[in-house]
C-alpha cells in the first residue's frame, strides 16, 4: 500500500510542478498593470508539491525499513538481515531512491522559498518558482518514466540482494544526502538567477535573497566533500585522501562554482557590481551540479557510485542537462545585454580582490572539468586514457597559489577603492611570515615544490585570515565577518594538512610473523595475532596489533580484512590511531607464507588538519549564514514596524 501511495504522491507532485511552471510563466508575462488570475496559485502549488514529494520519500523509507520484498527496489538493494540504520540509509543508497531524494530536497526548498521569501518583486518570485517547477518537472519525468522507485515485483522475492558492503557504513547515512542538499541548494540559486534575468531584476536585493541558498548549498557541499574524503581515506585502505576520481571531481566542481558565486554575490549585495557575472555563475554552478549528477548516476563511469548502468537513464539525464543548461544559457544570451552596468571599482579594492578570486576559481573549475571529461572524449576516438594527480595537482596549483596570495590581502581591503599603503603594517607581517616560511621550507628540503608552497603559504594565510579582526571590537563584529575569518582560517588549516601529509608521510610495507615488530616513523607496531571474527553479515580476519609512539604506551589496533556474503565481496577495514600531530594508519593484507602476514603502515603527520580545515570552512559558512539570516529577519521586522507606524500616523 505504501508503494502505491508514494507513487500517487509523486504523480500529483509532478502535476503541481507543471501547474507551478505554467501559472508562474503566465503571471510573469501578464502586463505590468494587470495580474494573471493564476498568479495566486504559484506559491501554494510550490508548498503542496514539496509536501507531496516529502511524503513519497517517507513512503520509500518505510518500505525499506520494513523490508517489503514485493517492491523491486527493496528486493534488489536490501536484505532482511541488515541492521536497521543501513536498511533506512539503503533507501537512498541506490539509483532510484537517490533521485527521489534529489527531487524531494529540491521541492522542499521550493516550498520554503514560496513560504518565506517576500523581498523580491512578486513577478521575479513567480518567475523563480516557475523555473523551480520546470527543473523539478524534468526530474519527476525521469523518476516516473525511467526510474520508478515504487515498482512492484510480479511475485515477491524471498530474500533481498543486499547492499554493496562498501556502502554499509555510517558514512552512507549522511554522505549522499549532504551532497544532494548542496546540489539542490544550487538549483534554487539557479532558479533565482533565471527569475531575476527574465524580469530584469538583477539587484542587490536579488543577491541577498539568493545568498542564504548559496551559503547553505556551499556548507553542505563542503561538509559532503570533507566527509567523502575522510570516508574514502579510511574505507578504501589505500592511505590516500583525494584521488581526483571523476566522482570526487563531480562534487568538487559545483563547490568551486559555488565558492565563486558566493563571493560574487557578496559583491552584488554590498556594492551592486558584477551583476551579469553573478548570474552567469549561478547558471554555471547549477550546470556543474547537473554534470555531477550525470557523471555519477549515468553509469558512464564505473565506480561504487554508479548505480544505473541502463543506457536509457544516462541518455535521459543527458537530455535534462542539455535542456536546462542550454535553456539557461539561451536566456542568458538574450537577456544579459539588457542588464544595466553595475557600480565601478578600482583594482585595489575588495571588489578587485574578489574578481581575482572569481577568475582563479573559474580557471581551476575549467581545469578540473577538462581533466574529468577528457577520458570520455578520447574514448569516442577509441583511445583509452585516465587522468590523475600528475595532471590535476600541478595544473590546478598554478591558479590556486596566486589566488591564495591575493587572499592574504583581499579581506583587508576596503570596498570601492583602497591603497596598499593604508594596510602596510599588515602587509609587512604577512610578508615576513612568507619569508620565514620560505626559509624553513628550504631548510627542510628536499620536499616537493607543491607541498613546499603549501607549507609556506599556510601559516601566512592563517595569520592573514585573522588580521581583519585587528582594531575592531570583537563583540560588535557582525557574525558574517566572523564567518569569513573562520572559513579563510579553515583554508589555511586544510592547506597545511595537505602539504604536511604529502611532504612528511612515511610508508612501510612488510611481511611479519606473529610477535615481530615493524617500524614506521616514530611508531613501533607489534603483530600480536591474527584471529577470525564475525559480524552480522560478514566474517573477517582481524589483526591484533600493539602500536607505541616513540616507545610510549602500547595501543591496541585491530585492522580487518572483511568478507561479506550478501553480496559476496571483500573490504579492507583500516585501523587508525589519531594523535594531535598526525595519524597512524594500519592495514592488514594476505598471508605471505611461512606464517608471515602482510602489513601496510603509514605515519601521516598532521593529516587530520585536512578535515579539521574542511570543517572550519563549513563552520565559517554556517556563521555567515546565521548572521545573514538574523540580519534579514531584523530588517524585515524593522520594515514591518515602520509600515505599521506609517499606517497609524495616517489613521
Amino acid at each position: 500500500m505504501a508503494a502505491e501511495l508514494g507513487l500517487a504522491a509523486m504523480w500529483l507532485a509532478a502535476a503541481l510542478a507543471a501547474l507551478q511552471l505554467v501559472a508562474g510563466a503566465m503571471a510573469m508575462n501578464a502586463r505590468a498593470d494587470g495580474t494573471s488570475e493564476l498568479a495566486p496559485l504559484v506559491r501554494p502549488a510550490a508548498v503542496l508539491q514539496g509536501l507531496l514529494a516529502a511524503f513519497a520519500f517517507l513512503s520509500l523509507i518505510y518500505l525499506f525499513a520494513v523490508t517489503d520484498l514485493s517492491v523491486k527496489l527493496v528486493a534488489l538493494n536490501s536484505h532482511s538481515a541488515k541492521p536497521l540504520i543501513f536498511k533506512v540509509a539503503g533507501a537512498w543508497g541506490n539509483h532510484e531512491g537517490s533521485m527521489l531524494l534529489w527531487v524531494t530536497v529540491m521541492s522542499t526548498a521550493g516550498a520554503l522559498i514560496a513560504l518565506v521569501e517576500r523581498r523580491l518583486p512578486e513577478k521575479t518570485m513567480q518567475a523563480t518558482l516557475a523555473a523551480q517547477g520546470f527543473v523539478a518537472l524534468g526530474f519527476y519525468a525521469f523518476l516516473l518514466f525511467s526510474s520508478n522507485p515504487f515498482e512492484r515485483l510480479p511475485t515477491p522475492a524471498l530474500e533481498g540482494n543486499g547492499l554493496n558492503p562498501l556502502l554499509q557504513d555510517i558514512g552512507l547515512a549522511f554522505h549522499p544526502p549532504t551532497l544532494y542538499f548542496g546540489y539542490v541548494g544550487l538549483s534554487v540559486a539557479f532558479s533565482f538567477a533565471v527569475g531575476a534575468l527574465l524580469t530584469r531584476q538583477v539587484t542587490p536585493d536579488f543577491a541577498r535573497a539568493m545568498r542564504p541558498w548559496i551559503l547553505g548549498a556551499w556548507i553542505f557541499l563542503t561538509v559532503g566533500i570533507t566527509a567523502g574524503s575522510y570516508w574514502a581515506y579510511y574505507e578504501l585502505g589505500w592511505g590516500g585522501w583525494w584521488f581526483w576520481d571523476p566522482v570526487e571531481n563531480a562534487s568538487l566542481m559545483p563547490w568551486l562554482a559555488a565558492t565563486a558565486l558566493l563571493h560574487s554575490a557578496s559583491v552584488l549585495a554590498a556594492r551592486d557590481a558584477l551583476r551579469t557575472w553573478t548570474i552567469m555563475l549561478g547558471v554555471v554552478a547549477f550546470s556543474m551540479s547537473m554534470v555531477g549528477t550525470f557523471l555519477v548516476r549515468s553509469g558512464i563511469l564505473t565506480s561504487v557510485h554508479a548505480f544505473a548502468v541502463d543506457p536509457e537513464r544516462g541518455t535521459f539525464i543527458l537530455a535534462l542537462l542539455a535542456i536546462y543548461i542550454g535553456g539557461a544559457l539561451a536566456v542568458f544570451a538574450f537577456r544579459a545585454g539588457t542588464v544595466a552596468e553595475g557600480e565601478r571599482f578600482s583594482i585595489t579594492s575588495r571588489e578587485g580582490a574578489l574578481v581575482v578570486n572569481n577568475v582563479m576559481l573559474s580557471a581551476i573549475l575549467a581545469i578540473v572539468l577538462v581533466g574529468t571529461l577528457y577520458p570520455l572524449l578520447t574514448e569516442a576516438f577509441d583511445v583509452r586514457v585516465s587522468v590523475g594527480p600528475p595532471y590535476f595537482n600541478p595544473v590546478s596549483a598554478i591558479f590556486f597559489f596566486p589566488m591564495v596570495a591575493v587572499l592574504l590581502v583581499g579581506p583587508l581591503l576596503r570596498w570601492r577603492r583602497d591603497s596598499l599603503a593604508r594596510i602596510r603594517p599588515s602587509l609587512v607581517i604577512v610578508g615576513l611570515l612568507l619569508l620565514v616560511g620560505i626559509m624553513v621550507a628550504l631548510l627542510l628540503s628536499p620536499i616537493g615544490i607543491l607541498p613546499g608552497l603549501g607549507l609556506v603559504f599556510a601559516p601566512a594565510l592563517a595569520v592573514a585570515s585573522v588580521l581583519p579582526l585587528r582594531g575592531r571590537s570583537l563583540r560588535r563584529l557582525p557574525l558574517a565577518t566572523w564567518g569569513m575569518v573562520v572559513a579563510h582560517l579553515g583554508i589555511a588549516v586544510a592547506l597545511f594538512g595537505m602539504a604536511s601529509e604529502s611532504a612528511f608521510s612515511e610508508e612501510r610495507l612488510v611481511a611479519v610473523q606473529v610477535g615481530q615488530t615493524a617500524e614506521v616513523g616514530p611508531w613501533k607496531v607489534r603483530l600480536d595475532g591474527i584471529q577470525p571474527v564475525a559480524g552480522p553479515n560478514w566474517t573477517a580476519l582481524q589483526g591484533r596489533m600493539f602500536a607505541s609512539y616513540q616507545g610510549g604506551r602500547e595501543i591496541e589496533i585491530d585492522p580487518q580484512s572483511r568478507s561479506f556474503w550478501v553480496p559476496p565481496q571483500q573490504t579492507t577495514e583500516s585501523a587508525l590511531v589519531t594523535r594531535w600531530n598526525g595519524q597512524l594508519y594500519a592495514v592488514v593484507g594476505n598471508e605471505a607464507g611461512d606464517g608471515k602476514w602482510q602489513l601496510r603502515l603509514w605515519w601521516k603527520p598532521f593529516v587530520t588538519f585536512i578535515w579539521y580545515g574542511g570543517l572550519l570552512i563549513a563552520l565559517g559558512g554556517l556563521l555567515a549564514l546565521v548572521g545573514r539570516v538574523i540580519a534579514d529577519l531584523k530588517r524585515r521586522h524593522a520594515k514591518g514596524r515602520v509600515a505599521q507606524r506609517r499606517k497609524e500616523a495616517k489613521a
Partner: protein
C-alpha cells in the same frame, strides 16, 4: 580599471580578464593532458610500442596462470600479464586487491621499467560483479575463454 574609465570599458576589461584566464586555463589543461594523461595498453601494444619509463601508463590483461610468484620479502609479487598475443612481466609491492588471482583480469597502473618489467604502483581487479574496471569490462570474450582454458 580606475574610475576614470567609462562604465562600458570596465565591463569590457572584466570580460577580457575572465576570457584570458579561462582560455589560458583551457590551453594549459590541453597541453598538460597531452603530457600527463595515462594511456591504456594491452601487452601486445606495449611490446610493439613501449612507452618511455618516465611516463605513467596503465596495462591491462589477464594474470597468466602459474606465473604469480612472491619474493622472499613477502610483499613483492611478480606475474605475467597476458592478452593471448604477448606477455609483459609485472612487479608490484603492496597488498593485492582481494579478487586478484591467477587467470583473472587486472589493470596495473605504473610505468614500464628500462629492463622491460612493468613496475605497478597500483593494481585494479574486479571488486565484485558490479564493479569492474572499465577496460576489463570490454575485454573480448575470446580472451576470457582463453584465460579460462589455461586455468583448467
Amino acid at each position: 580599471m580606475t574610475s576614470g574609465l567609462k562604465p562600458k570599458h570596465q565591463r569590457l576589461v572584466l570580460v577580457l580578464l575572465a576570457l584570458v584566464a579561462i582560455i589560458g586555463a583551457g590551453t594549459l589543461a590541453a597541453w598538460a593532458l597531452r603530457n600527463q594523461a595515462s594511456y591504456f595498453y594491452v601487452p601486445k601494444e606495449m611490446m610493439a610500442n613501449p612507452p618511455s619509463p618516465d611516463r605513467g601508463v596503465r596495462l591491462g590483461g589477464m594474470v597468466k596462470a602459474g606465473s604469480l610468484k612472491t619474493d622472499p620479502d613477502g610483499v613483492t609479487i611478480r606475474f605475467l600479464v597476458d592478452d593471448g598475443e604477448a606477455e609483459v612481466p609485472v612487479k608490484f609491492s603492496g597488498i593485492v586487491p582481494d579478487l586478484f588471482v591467477e587467470g583473472s583480469g587486472v589493470v596495473a597502473e605504473g610505468h614500464l621499467g628500462a629492463d622491460g618489467t612493468f613496475v605497478a604502483d597500483n593494481l585494479l581487479a574486479k571488486h565484485d560483479e558490479n564493479y569492474v574496471p572499465r577496460e576489463l569490462q570490454d575485454m573480448t570474450e575470446a580472451q576470457k575463454r582463453m584465460a579460462i582454458e589455461e586455468t583448467n
